[in-house]
Symmetry: C2
Subunit: 418 residues, 2 copies
């Protein structure tokens, strides 16, 4: 895409009321627009990055046999009353609104209830199970405060997966397959080495649930990491019994601030019983279905990647989710021969399947480089007054390291990468 | 995809409270789930079809240089007050909800206001224009009644595009480019021959707006079509002056019921003036930006295609948007040799890039054929007890016509189609 067509510009300063690093950088670079506290619109660069995060999630969900659907935002009062989660005294972050035709509806902050009801209409026999079903939908939480940018929004995009099993053993298998998928997702997003599966409090149906916590100074959570065993424990369950369960000593654990980037939870029959989701076993007996739920925040991940990789110059995107792979920056100052070299390189790279942002604007070199640093595309190719086809310079955004290719080597590399 | 993994089943009967043909068929075939009146969840088949409709729209938007972003659902009261569209006495279909932190927010039914505000922050000079910007987002309308299934929902998915021009002439060019794109979209969706660009009432800034109306008996609108000139007029503007403008006689027009599937509208400076969106021209003078808005209902289109193509046996999807291209139906009754032929065909077609729903279930042939008719995938390949690789039968869903291929011809065709 030609940058002249991109529509957004960068900003030197972030809005004064924006305190979080992620929101300041994403706003300055033109990825997001703040509609109100906790509510952001995705500008073209932000939407592209968000779509790439979702594509990684979808790929790993498909790989474990999960099927995608898309549940509504609007939630039925009658349905949520059956599980005792409608009352504001029980769940206090609902957004609710009134129907002109009479009655109230809620805006979903999670979807266990509608998911269970949908499955109830499709599953009757043991042959219909197990199932893994997910959707990626906007969620709404009536947060009292919203100051963390994309890390905690009132409107946010989330992938939520639900598992449906016949037995506890089958549930544990599904649970483990999702845990494995989450590990692959965080590795592919480039935060695998700083993201820990932590033990958190469970509920009626299991002793523990698990969260995925990404180490970050701004994190609202505190986790205790065993560096050798790659085990981590949430503060809420840092008690002798749990330490004994996991075979670790308190003194071996390091305390870290972290951001929750995912959670996986055994639901048992918490939803299947009140909503009548049962199946008939081979012996003719009826059993409630054993469920699990598995969250991953897509817009939050956009914020996490901005927080943990952003540096003093701007955003630094992992290759896997960058809005473009290559930032082609023409600083030749309008010399016709160099301009047509840059044009041809843009065409060739694009045709090789590489997504290129081409800074074809009439602007100073310093401004273009500052913008490029701020936007954070992984590889920058500079076409300057001296550039010759035998010596195209590629600069890595992560460390500023450079590589020299001739034009045909570059296209070979590009074809290989795409 | 193996049908045993699809998760949804078909239903013999539609829910008693569902009166619209589109919702009855889409529910029975397992495309949608009704959460409440006017609010549907998309089941896997429905989501696939919806995604294909959106892909066609995105392709045509990109082709005219439009850039995609994604604006929030939640809308700021202060912003909409500036254009006098917050008050329920002015716009009576708002859904509004309260923030715990104080204040009210609305759920967007359209996005002129936030779009104009975003552009206001990015556009200052004549070099920043023209622009075409769009998003595909869930919209909310507090409808008094919602009985038309996907044709008129309280929660619905819509593509809305906005144009930003320097002059009236430039606006007209953009307007025409969108009109041309809409024509291509309706042609690709298979409804081009029954969809008319109709003259509708304009507003302060233009004499006419235009709607795209698809002929359908259940349509809530009435249009008057000139068959020879392919001109159509909405009832509201069927007056002598308009007939004279268009050079047609009342007696030449045929009256038809129709469903509005798109609308395009000149906004002039209705939003740019109150929201301060102006640009500096080459001569240094400041001018308000000339805007247009262009709607297309994605979930409504799902309903329209079900309405106009569905027959007594079920849904009939155009090739361009079908959830799968081929329905491979194994009715060989479990004969091992035929089963492995069907398995191999599934693998080969999938590897050739054809999306196949493979009915591998243990069910009677009659049930499988009825399900296949109901789901409405364009091409059915039957593997029966007698099937040999030299004689694979392909049945068209539209007219039941059959073609015989041998296996290698079939794969050649498939490779060509994919």
């Amino acid at each position: 895409m030609r940058q002249s067509q991109l529509f957004t510009k960068t900003r030197k300063e972030a809005p004064a009321d924006e305190v979080a690093k992620n929101a300041r950088l994403l706003t300055r670079a033109g990825f997001i627009y703040k509609e109100m506290a906790g509510v952001y619109s995705m500008l073209p660069l932000g939407l592209r990055t968000l779509n790439r995060i979702n594509a990684i999630v979808r790929g790993e969900m498909t790989a474990i046999g999960a099927v995608e659907l898309l549940m509504s935002v609007m939630q039925s009062k009658e349905l949520w009353e059956k599980t005792n989660r409608w009352d504001d005294a029980v769940v206090d972050n609902w957004f609710k609104t009134k129907l002109k035709a009479g009655g109230e509806v809620g805006l979903g902050f999670t979807q266990e209830e509608p998911m269970t009801r949908i499955v109830q209409g499709q599953v009757s026999s043991y042959v219909d199970l197990p199932r893994l079903l997910y959707h990626i939908q906007w969620k709404y939480r009536n947060e009292e405060r919203a100051k963390s940018g994309m890390l905690r929004g009132r409107e946010f995009l989330m992938k939520d997966l639900y598992s449906f099993a016949r037995t506890d053993a089958e549930h544990q298998q599904l649970y483990q397959s999702v845990a494995d998928a989450y590990e692959r997702i965080f590795n592919r997003l480039g935060i695998g080495n700083r993201t820990f599966k932590t033990f958190a409090s469970g509920g009626v149906f299991s002793k523990y649930s698990h969260e995925y916590q990404c180490l970050a100074d701004v994190g609202e959570d505190t986790i205790f990491v065993h560096p050798g065993k790659k085990i981590a424990i949430n503060r809420e369950v840092l008690v002798p019994e749990v330490l004994a369960d996991l075979g670790v000593e308190r003194s071996e654990l390091e305390e870290h601030a972290a951001i929750e980037v995912g959670n996986i939870f055994s639901l048992g029959t918490r939803f299947s019983e009140p909503l009548g989701l049962s199946y008939t076993a081979e012996d003719g007996a009826s059993h409630p279905v054993i469920m699990g739920s598995y969250g991953f925040g897509s817009t939050r991940m956009l914020g996490v990647l901005a927080e943990v990789f952003g540096d003093e110059k701007g955003l630094v995107w992992p290759v896997a989710v960058a809005p473009f792979m290559v930032h082609l920056v023409d600083v030749s100052g309008g010399a016709l021969e160099k301009k047509s070299f840059a044009d041809a390189l843009y065409t060739d790279l694009t045709q090789a399947g590489i997504e290129v942002l081409y800074d074809d604007r009439d602007a100073r070199a310093g401004e273009k480089f500052a913008d490029s640093d701020l936007i954070g595309i992984p590889f920058r190719i500079i076409v300057g007054k001296q550039t010759i086809p035998e010596q195209v310079e590629v600069v890595r955004r992560t460390d500023g390291g450079t590589m020299i290719f001739n034009r045909s080597q570059l296209l070979d590399q590009a074809t290989y990468a795409a």
